[in-house]
């Protein structure tokens, strides 16, 4: 029988492993109380650091009862999380949100950066698992410097194993190409426009907006899926309205975080505005 995480109060779970990904990013392995219906890449949880804060974190992987969350230290809440140790408890609510929809027998172009990478890593794993002869996987990752690139070892390994092709970019050229991954994607799209392509992206919204503007001009791109995360959340299940984007009133937490090309096209806020916890609109 499949067990579900119900949308309810935080389920208290033990941190069983903490792995340093880079200076300010760590992967937390968290033991769930049971093996749940498997969350899909793109879905997220609300992670509670007891007594401090609660915030959304994408699923970076799951194996049976062990949930993997990869978190960047950016503010108070994540800082408090980084002070926790193996054996400590965190609260998990979820799984929330619409996942990436994996297309079959297609060229998969995956573009990410920053904390967009964890869900994309999980997505790549899942695409690899279900791949056919026709599937090709191209991964473009960007970061400021070498140290900030996530999952480089893993991605290079997959590349070596011919599971994916991998194109890292850094602002300072300290690893891979110098420049933005969006440039790499553009180059690729101009070069090869025979096979149907699906774009999956997660990362800084500005980056995704640029990518979107590039991609919408190519006819062989049959779908663009982008995961929006630069938003404040409260409930995670569509009640409070904290994460709404204009003008369609879509909520990142249940209508997203992964949106389709059609949805993004109409989304004036995309790449432009987000809302503060007060509801005040702010340029991104």
């Amino acid at each position: 029988m499949t067990k579900y995480f119900h949308n309810s109060k935080p389920e208290m779970c033990k941190i069983i492993k903490i792995m340093e990904e880079n200076e300010d990013t760590r992967t937390f392995s968290i033991k769930l109380p049971f093996t749940p219906k498997k969350p899909k890449p793109g879905q997220f949880v609300m992670l509670w650091v007891p007594g401090i804060d609660e915030f959304p974190i994408g699923v970076a992987g799951i194996k049976d009862q062990i949930l993997e969350l990869c978190v960047a230290k950016v503010g108070e809440g994540t800082k408090a999380l980084f002070e926790l140790e193996q054996g400590d408890l965190v609260g998990i609510r979820g799984f929330f949100g619409k996942a990436f929809r994996i297309k079959k027998s297609i060229t998969h172009i995956i573009v990410g950066g920053g904390y967009g990478m964890p869900p994309l890593k999980y997505l790549i794993e899942e695409i690899i698992k279900g791949r056919t002869e026709q599937d090709e996987i191209f991964v473009f990752e960007g970061a400021r410097t070498k140290e900030k690139l996530l999952y480089v070892e893993l991605l290079e390994k997959w590349k070596k194993e011919k599971k994916i092709d991998f194109f890292p970019f850094t602002d300072d050229g300290s690893y891979g190409k110098k420049g933005f991954p969006t440039e790499g994607v553009k180059e690729y799209l101009n070069k090869d426009n025979e096979k149907s392509v699906v774009i999956y992206s997660a990362g800084p919204e500005k980056m995704m907006k640029i990518l979107f503007d590039i991609c919408k001009n190519y006819n062989h791109i049959i779908d663009i899926q982008m995961s929006l995360a630069d938003r404040h959340m409260r409930c995670g299940f569509g009640l409070c309205g904290a994460c709404v984007v204009d003008p369609e009133g879509l909520r990142i937490c249940v209508d997203g975080p992964v949106f389709s090309r059609e949805q993004l096209e109409k989304m004036d806020d995309f790449g432009n505005y987000s809302r503060l916890p007060s509801g005040k609109k702010e340029e991104i």
Binding site: P10, C235, G238, C240, G241, V244, V245, D246, L250, K281
Partner: protein, 307 residues
């Protein structure tokens, strides 16, 4: 069959109103819920200055009792910025009710006067938020204050004033009377019940603000009782708007029979497909009216008091 309902001078296409604080920070989600089929929408409660509200966790669901607990507090961008949302709603012809809050008459006045030039439906005075220190309950449980605020606001605007009441109270009649005396055009009952959940493993209250407000199915029997009592006492005098735990068209009917002229729906709409829920509500209301041979909503209002 006609689903229209009147709350005083205000006519809505049906009795469903989106409750304040639910999907109410952006014009776009308010517009979306109205377009799903609601009769009107209410904004998040708006005050003078920008407020970020209480820390997370600030909203979660309680699966076991189909309810939610929240301590959002009065997060809002302040009336000056919120005008922009309102303007778009008005342009889109969304029947909008503006919920406002304040700690005293002056604060209420500033917000009211700062928005009153815009042609929305009416004001709802939030005298009942359990999630702030100064505003809300402190104001809403003091009959004299309720009277004065209502009266002063009523003087300052030609729009109807709805007064939203708290269930965290010994004597609702006292407060309702004060609101009526102050010139309220409708009573709204109820806001959330003060509540708390403690996590037994971390030994901490889960909400960032510790205490919160309980909404959803758990409070429906409590809301029904308040509306029934209010209608019994004041039904001739003032229309009542029912809120609390409505999760089906049949629950809407229950509130109407208790004495509500319209209802507000909050927690139940916070789901993946609010459009489907709205449709279901409307279908259920129509089905009931059809089966019971009821032609108009007004035939139902207070229908449980006949004996």
């Amino acid at each position: 069959m006609n689903l229209e309902t009147k709350i005083g001078k205000i006519t809505l296409r049906n009795p469903l109103i989106l409750a304040s604080g639910v999907l109410g920070s952006s014009y776009s989600s308010l517009n979306r819920i109205y377009n799903s089929g609601f009769g009107a929408v209410i904004t998040k409660s708006i005050g003078i200055d920008e407020r970020k509200g209480n820390p997370n966790p600030s909203v979660f669901f309680l699966h076991e009792i189909k309810s939610a607990i929240n301590s959002v507090g009065l997060a809002n961008p302040g009336y000056k910025l919120y005008r922009e949302e309102l303007k778009i709603l008005i342009e889109k012809e969304v029947p909008t009710i503006v919920s406002i809050f304040g700690g005293n008459i002056d604060e209420f006045s500033e917000v009211l006067e700062g928005l009153d030039d815009l042609p929305f439906l009416c004001f709802e005075l939030n005298l009942s938020c359990p999630n702030t220190e100064k505003e809300g309950l402190a104001v809403g449980t003091d009959p004299q204050l309720v009277y004065e605020i209502t009266k002063e606001m009523q003087k300052r605007t030609s729009k109807p004033i709805w007064v939203k009441l708290t269930p965290n109270i010994t004597d609702i009649f006292e407060i309702a009377e004060a609101a009526i005396k102050g010139g309220a055009s409708a009573l709204v009952a109820i806001n959330t019940l003060k509540a708390m959940i403690i996590d037994i493993y971390s030994k901490k209250p889960i909400l960032g603000f510790k205490r919160g407000g309980l909404s959803g199915a758990a409070i429906k029997p409590i809301g029904i009782r308040f509306v029934y009592d209010l209608f019994e006492r004041f039904g001739e005098t003032i229309p009542i708007v029912g809120v609390g735990g409505i999760n089906s068209g049949y629950d809407v009917i229950e509130y109407l029979l208790a004495g509500a002229s319209a209802v507000e729906v909050g927690t139940a709409i916070g789901i993946k497909y609010p459009e489907n829920k709205t449709n279901l509500f409307i279908q259920q209301i129509k089905k009931y009216m059809h089966e019971q041979k009821v032609e108009s909503i007004s035939e139902l209002i207070g229908g449980a008091h006949n004996d």
